[in-house]
Symmetry: C2
Subunit: 245 residues, 2 copies
DNA sequence: CGGGTCATTGAGTCAGCTCAAGGCTCGTGG
DNA sequence: CCACGAGCCTTGAGCTGACTCAATGACCCG
């Protein structure tokens, strides 16, 4: 095994990493696979050099050719409305799959942008399709990933239609919290990867409203916030505010 | 084969209908298939007895076992929020596929309810999965249907986040119009299948707001409305209001 | 033709927006 | 190691689009 260079960027970057030894393999695509099947999946996955904050994995309008998994860091997907405004449509954390927006008509309808230095796996879609025909459980899992994306978007739709600004902010905090928890990280004490502007755009409110609501949550002793660092001090209350059971 | 009763319901109902001779086969699943492949798809599709207005095809919480295509009529999918409110998450017209909401975790997260007397095709998902392994172009098409669902939900999300009530109503009218047009029907002169209440719920506004906006559109000579019958008299202006190119 | 559902219209209220000013943070360079 | 600047975040004041509450009108089915 080659000796790894010691600077920060490269220590995250290891070409030899495989799905088999990836910490995230119980969250990501391999979850449904046998060892020998994982090897086949592994063979088609390209592990890219880490990308810096603000860099795009793909741009709106580009031809769809692959889906992506987050290995480390975090990303947002961004849409541009007809009148030129940016609109954040999703946040993606390690173990999560993104880039599905191009599947419908072979053109990406969003750009994917790193929120911090991030490592991603690229999975060429045509190769993946071939593989799913050989490995039915993988096909089932891809369908499931797509289905989950649909379900999570529907719940966002419901939220945007029916919730107040306060409920939206609470729900986002709960969502990030539970996704961290799923990765064996703290669900109460973490760093928000996105800016207030991104949160506001995603939630369909203004940045001022997000800020005011976070201050208000702090006043009510639900959370402790210092910029992007957040500690949830009353999960119960926050959950009920978010209308999440 | 039994003689069919002659009442109104049954005259729409014909077991012999096949994908091959269905008027909608250039919109629906068969679009990507050869004749002999269509026969295979046909073999797994169950054509159900027409259902009446208000009847459900599946209920929230039920086990996911099939996806559905609208043959005639129209349906809505409905979600129930934590506090017990109904929320419409989608409208489905002939040739469109619904029921994908259960794919993620094998449980339907919505109910599907007929807006009028409707005929639907049921496609058992496990049979469809088997078939996609034998017919790669069908797999590709299913992925595409899922991708389109994801894309259309994302565009709804963007709309709900950024649009005013007026823009939302305009966008819904344009959407119904273009979906009618796709079916070779008039894109300017049609009947809205859903109630004001359903429109309002789907758009995330109140019923009064929908009503006021429709009246306002009429005053501005964009449309002529008589309850559910609508004539779009200035498509250009309505499109630009909807912020759709 | 009568009752119930669905749709329209009006008046007053409020959540979240806009505009504006000031504070905090962090990276950079002297 | 500190000073500085640019971007990000917070807070305040006033405004407005959409909501709530309420009453009336239109349609449909038995």
């Amino acid at each position: 095994m080659a000796h790894l260079p010691s600077n920060v960027i490269s220590c995250h970057f290891n070409n030899k990493t495989s799905c088999e030894n990836c910490r995230l393999n119980q969250l990501c695509l391999p979850i449904s696979l046998q060892i020998n099947e994982i090897d086949k999946l592994d063979a088609i996955i390209k592990r890219k050099r880490p990308i810096g904050k603000g860099d795009a994995v793909f741009h709106l309008g580009e031809r769809f050719s692959a889906i992506y998994a987050v290995r480390s860091g975090s990303l947002k997907t961004v849409n541009v409305t007809v009148d030129g405004q940016e609109q954040v449509t999703g946040f993606y954390l390690p173990g999560e799959i993104f880039g599905l927006d191009g599947l419908g008509n072979n053109i990406h309808t969003n750009s994917a942008v790193a929120l911090e230095t991030s490592a991603i796996c690229e999975i060429p879609f045509s190769r993946l399709e071939e593989l799913t025909i050989k490995i039915p459980s993988l096909q089932r899992h891809i369908f499931q990933v797509l289905g989950q994306e649909i379900a999570s978007e529907q719940s966002l739709i419901t939220h945007l239609s029916t919730s107040t600004a306060e409920e939206r902010v609470a729900a986002l905090l709960i969502s990030i919290s539970s996704r961290n928890h799923r990765r064996q990280l703290s669900g109460t004490d973490f760093r928000l990867p996105m800016s207030r502007t991104d949160m506001a755009s995603y939630l369909g409110v203004t940045i001022e409203t997000v800020s005011r609501i976070l201050s208000h949550f702090q006043k009510k002793k639900l959370v402790t916030i210092k910029m992007k660092d957040i500690i949830i001090t009353d999960m119960q209350a926050l959950r009920s505010l978010a209308k999440v059971s």
